[in-house]
């Protein structure tokens, strides 16, 4: 049995109410959406807030709809991962994101967990996601209650891994995140949201709430794909994740291509230098190999998950290749101006 610590539970019905509660209680409060990450973490005493502010009654944070001009898709942060993965608009415009949402954890967790919670997921590490007894037996770690990183042994920087499936796709797709806090509302590109500090790896202040996600629909030639490496095909967090997106001309020539590799360190890694390899040509065998080599050269996983780091690194090449092969074979996402129609 893993008991929770005593806390008060609040159920505001508007974003303003939730923000006021969080601001009022300060560091003693935490927001909670689906709770699939926070509840186990509280059971492990990684967080012990005196007040939990549930966001689940805030109707304004639900819904999936195209923006007024049809240029963006708005996804309410409280949409469950099951609903996001099955949503016809998400499937049509962003198949990579739909696949990623459908690959998070297992079915029950996708029925509970939200896309907003997934974006704000705490980083993970073998030495962190353990019971208090386990962590205490090892003298705790740099991320929580201790001073030593058991992964790097000497480092003063936490290397716990960003382990969420949807953000690499949101970054690759150029999404924008909307936050609400005591200072008002603000927007931040998904690409700038994450930091390299494993202790707190986002720009979200602790009293801010992620309210919605906006993703540009792009042109008719936009495609996306996602690959995830894990030990089991269900329940597990990724050991490695690869999100790719590209704009293609009608004849298959690449106009723009982007890749994000994650679950290795605290921040999803945007692969540098892909455009110069692939733009202007078709996405085929040699080009895909060159792109995979480029990604491999930029990724150096540590043993923040107890899986051989060299094997995980070798898998970068394999999974980037597979993601790109899927992208090459994928039909255009039927974005704006497509003859396919709705």
């Amino acid at each position: 049995m893993l008991r929770l610590h005593p806390f008060r539970y609040h159920r505001p019905e508007t974003v303003d109410e939730a923000v006021a509660l969080l601001a009022g209680f300060g560091e003693e409060a935490m927001p909670m959406a689906g709770g699939t990450d926070l509840m186990p973490n509280m059971k492990h005493r990684l967080f012990t807030p005196a007040h939990v502010v549930s966001l689940n009654r805030i109707a304004a944070m639900r819904g999936v709809a195209l923006g007024p001009s049809g240029q963006h898709l708005r996804i309410g942060a409280l949409e469950t991962l099951a609903d996001v993965s099955a949503n016809p608009l998400v499937r049509r415009y962003f198949p990579g994101l739909a696949d990623a949402a459908g690959l998070v954890a297992g079915p029950q967790l996708r029925n509970m967990g939200t896309i907003g919670g997934n974006v704000c997921l705490d980083t993970r590490c073998t030495y962190y996601n353990q019971t208090e007894f386990w962590r205490g037996a090892l003298g705790y770690c740099l991320k929580k209650d201790g001073t030593v990183c058991h992964v790097t042994k000497v480092g003063k920087k936490c290397v716990a891994a960003h382990s969420a499936d949807t953000p690499p796709n949101l970054i690759a797709l150029g999404a924008t995140l909307a936050l609400a806090g005591p200072g008002g509302a603000r927007e931040i590109p998904a690409a700038e949201f994450f930091l390299t500090d494993g202790i707190w790896n986002t720009r979200r202040a602790r009293d801010e709430i992620l309210t919605e996600i906006r993703i540009p629909v792009g042109g008719p030639g936009r495609r996306s794909a996602y690959r995830k490496l894990r030990q089991r095909h269900s329940i597990d967090f990724p050991l490695l994740s690869v999100a790719v997106t590209g704009d293609f001309e009608e004849n298959g020539v690449v106009e723009r291509i982007g890749g994000v590799v994650s679950a290795l360190g605290a921040r999803p890694r945007v692969v540098a230098g892909w455009d110069e390899i692939a733009v202007g040509g078709r996405l085929g065998g040699r080009v895909i190999d060159a792109l995979a080599d480029r990604a491999y050269a930029q990724c150096r996983p540590l043993e923040n998950i107890i899986v051989d780091a060299e094997w995980r690194r070798a898998m970068v090449r394999v999974h980037v290749r597979r993601a790109l092969a899927e992208l090459a074979g994928r039909a255009p996402s039927a974005g704006n101006g497509s003859a396919a129609g709705p």
């Binding site: 049995m1 893993l2 929770l4 610590h5 005593p6 806390f7 008060r8 539970y9 159920r11 909670m32 709770g35 699939t36 509840m39 186990p40 059971k43 492990h44 939990v52 549930s54 689940n56 099951a82 954890a105 297992g106 079915p107 029950q108 967790l109 029925n111 509970m112 095909h233 269900s234 329940i235």
Partner: protein, 156 residues
């Protein structure tokens, strides 16, 4: 302690609970419904699966307050006065349970699936049960049982 009002298996239930209780703790220790099992107790194993508003969820990581105003169904609510739910009966007939600890959760995941999708493919059954771990035996007899139950429900 605070009073929580739940609708469980069609009954209105009122119960005093500590404010940090989970739905699972309330079911087991507040209402005496011990069919839902406390396995890993942190959202990995699926033994605590119940059906809330038609969807399979994990009661061990659901704060009890999130279940207020919603329809909760547990393994105790699957059978009726007329007899076992066809999924329960087919689990029995197909030998789909061994020690039985994972069974209540798997039954709930299966019923939630069949209520949404009355004639699932084998692959859809596997996907729907991918969040329920059985450590005794394989899953084949479990899939067989759900398939057989779907056929029986379809024949009605």
């Amino acid at each position: 302690m605070e009073v929580v009002r739940l609708r469980v298996n069609g009954d209105e239930r009122v119960c005093g609970v500590p404010t940090h209780y989970t739905l699972l703790e309330t079911l087991r220790y507040g209402l005496g419904l011990t069919g839902s099992k406390q396995g890993c107790d942190k959202g990995d194993c699926g033994a605590c699966t119940v059906i809330v508003d038609g969807r399979a969820v994990l009661s061990c990581i659901t704060p009890v307050w999130e279940a207020e105003g919603r329809e909760v169904r547990t393994v105790e609510g699957l059978a009726t006065a007329a007899g076992l739910h066809p999924v329960q009966d087919e689990f029995d007939l197909n030998g789909a349970a061994q020690c039985g600890f994972c069974t209540p959760g798997i039954l709930c995941s299966s019923v939630a699936l069949l209520d949404r999708n009355p004639s699932p493919t084998r692959g859809e059954i596997r996907a729907a049960l991918a969040g329920n771990l059985c450590r005794c035996t394989g899953y084949e007899k479990i899939y067989d049982a759900v398939e057989a139950a779907a056929e029986r429900l379809g024949d009605r």
